[in-house]
Amino acid sequence: MRLEVKQLYKNFGDKEVLKGVDFAVESGNSLGLLGRNGAGKTTTIRIIMDVFAADSGDVLLDGKPFRQGDFRIGYMPEERGLYPKRLILDQLVYLANLRGLSLADAKANTLRWLGRMGLMDYLNKKVDSLSKGNQQKIQLAVAMLNDPEILILDEPFSGLDPVNAKLLKLIVRETIEEGKIVLFSSHQMNYVEEFCKDIAILNQGKILLNTDIDKHKRSYDRRHLVLDIGGGANKDAVAYLTGKGIRAEDVKQEVHLYVPDVKDTLGILSGLSESGVPIEGYRVFEPSLEDVFVEYTSETI
């Protein structure tokens, strides 16, 4: 399956929120929709979920208009919330039931997912008696209840502690491995980087970058190297390299250098090593996702 949005436009009053958003995500893959606050992430997701309609543009599944009712969709809205005064078991069964499961299946899945989340003790508790982190886990359970073919998570990591974030990552990764479509929005780059193959950077209603994250990183200049120098000899290394006519800088206890040609890399490094500077490690510079994100979105601050 391939979920695709094409040229989405949406205005709220005079405010243009989406100005032609395109991206696609396929089965067995996940797409991280990245963007700063107000970039249009939630609006895009709500249009996909048919919370409201786009002014123009299409949401397609395998090339045909996407009809939500025809698929099992797991959805975690940005606005989290459940009935504060109803028992957790009751409302999870209800929500699963509304998403098309029979009552028996709804109950079985509720028990299975609450067990997975370690929340079996709270079955007959009310939501407002739960801690915030546990409420978040319940929300994730709700999204997973109907064994979704398409999982759409809006800012799933907000409010999760590292342990719960790990659980969420595990579940998302399993879902991807099962060949499902996962689409989520976030501005927490470190999490996205860990399991997202594709990203789409959304800024001010436009997609600035839609790419395979590893390929994109490799597209950066391979002549930019980073050295890890032992014994506090960074200055010596910079001095040696500059002496050889190579641009080098000491940045955060690492030495960044720009070799003229990739073929020269090993020669330069062995020369440096022979000069008595202890090289403990080296790698080709790759920007973190955060660097990429800032690079693409900061000029519009």
């Binding site: 009712g69 809205p77 919330g81 504060p84 409302q91």
Partner: protein, 437 residues
């Protein structure tokens, strides 16, 4: 339909498990039980008192011979203002009270009343002046009016006697015993008043309370942000109608339990209530009236619940609900006011009532009151119900549109002009929705 059933089941379950619903129902049933068993409860706690019917007084000597006591009212016939016969007449007219003719003077009697020697005293100081001395004037003490009647009769009697009319003739003139027979061709409003009043009250309370519950319930889903999960998996109409029908049914069940328990407790205590015309008139209400209550409750409830549901979808927080539903609540209050004024003044067929019985917002209560307390023609009833039905359907469609857009609007409740815009876009979006589902 499957989704509607899920919503309906979940909502109904919510009512049956909710503490306020259970407590309210149980409380009302207990109150009814206590009230309807009251004569028996009272009899259980008070000593068996054999009330011996008082033999009528025939001789004035009987009055003088009465022992003084706590239940006795002293009579001071100062300088023989009333004749002996008039005193006997007075004594018999003061039904249930024992009179003792005494020679003590007014001050001494007053002291006796104060110290509890007499229950009260009547000082006849002149042919047309009587003073009633009582330690406390109870709210329910009707001695003064009884005394007024009795004294009037006694004075008239003496006056007639002074004109030379015999005792028997005087009695015949004073108590002619006229009989009035009633041949009622319509509904007796004295018989219908109490049950109409009670049913109107129930109708009013049920519509207001359950309407507000619908508004609050929608606003809670919105305020707690459960709405986005619901709206992305469920048709708005299923959500709204499931919710409203569940509220209506739980209201009906509550009324059924409460009225059913009233009937049960009445029949359990039937012997104690024998002879109480008011209570009997309530429990002997004709069955068709109950049918009409059902019809008007269902229609009235839906009409208002749709409006309440739509309003609930427009507010962002539960706290704003009561302020926002005020205009609609006032509409019901106005209808209730019209109908209560009309039936208490006994004028169920006033122009106001007739007009209001066709206005759908007031029709549920007003038409019901007309049916219960007078006899509108069948075509009038049908016309009122048809109008109500059509309006309810129209408001239902409109509410569903508002609800669809309203549930995801946050911020200030919209102004009326914005509301119209919302409804228009809702229509437009409704068309899109049909295509996509």
């Amino acid at each position: 339909m499957r989704q509607f059933k899920s919503v309906f089941r979940f909502e109904l379950n919510g009512y049956f498990k909710s503490k306020p619903y259970i407590i309210m129902t149980v409380l009302l049933v207990v109150i009814l039980m206590v009230v309807l068993s009251f004569p028996n409860i009272k009899a259980f706690f008070t000593k068996e008192e054999t009330t011996v019917a008082q033999a009528p007084v025939t001789q004035v000597e009987q009055l003088a011979g009465q022992a003084s006591g706590k239940d006795v009212i002293a009579v001071v016939n100062g300088s023989g203002v009333l004749s002996d016969e008039a005193l006997v007449l007075l004594a018999n007219a003061m039904d249930g009270r024992t009179l003792r003719l005494t020679d003590e003077d007014a001050d001494a009697v007053r002291e006796q009343v104060r110290s509890g020697g007499y229950a009260g005293a009547v000082i006849v100081s002149g042919p047309k002046t009587v003073t009633y001395i009582t330690p406390n004037l109870d709210l329910n003490d009707n001695t003064v009016s009884t005394l007024y009647g009795a004294m009037t009769a006694a004075v008239r009697y003496d006056a007639l006697a002074a004109l030379g009319i015999t005792q028997a003739d005087a009695m015949a003139v004073l108590n002619p015993n006229v009989r009035v027979d009633v041949d009622n061709l319509g509904v007796s409003q004295t018989d219908t008043f109490f049950y109409t009043y009670i049913l109107l009250m129930a109708l009013y309370m049920a519509i207001v309370i359950y309407g507000q519950i619908v508004a609050t319930s929608v606003a809670t889903e919105k305020g707690s942000r459960t709405m986005e999960l619901l709206i992305t998996s469920t048709r708005p109409n299923s959500l709204l109608f499931g919710k409203i029908i569940a509220a209506g049914l739980s209201g009906l069940i509550q009324m059924f339990v409460i009225f059913g328990s009233a009937v049960l407790f009445y029949h359990l205590n039937a012997s104690a209530w024998a002879g109480n015309a008011t209570i009997a008139s309530i429990f002997n209400m004709p069955l068709p009236i109950l049918g009409y209550v059902l019809v008007f409750f269902i229609l009235g409830f839906f009409l208002y619940a749709f409006m309440f549901g739509a309003i609930g979808s427009l507010v962002s927080r539960v706290e704003d609900v009561s302020a926002s539903i005020l205009p609609v609540t006032l509409l019901i209050v106005a209808a209730f006011f019209v109908v209560i004024t009309a039936i208490t003044s006994g004028n169920a067929e006033s122009t106001m009532m007739i007009v209001c019985s066709y206005i759908p917002f007031t029709a549920p209560m007003v038409m019901f009151a007309r049916i219960a307390m007078s006899a509108p023609a069948w075509y009038e009833i049908v016309a009122s119900i048809v109008l109500l039905l059509a309006t309810t359907a129209g408001i239902g469609v409109l509410s569903a549109s508002i609800y669809r857009m309203g549930v995801l609007m946050y911020g200030k409740p919209p102004k009326p002009s914005e509301l119209i815009k919302v409804i228009r876009t809702a229509r437009k979006h409704g068309a899109i929705l049909k295509g996509s589902r």
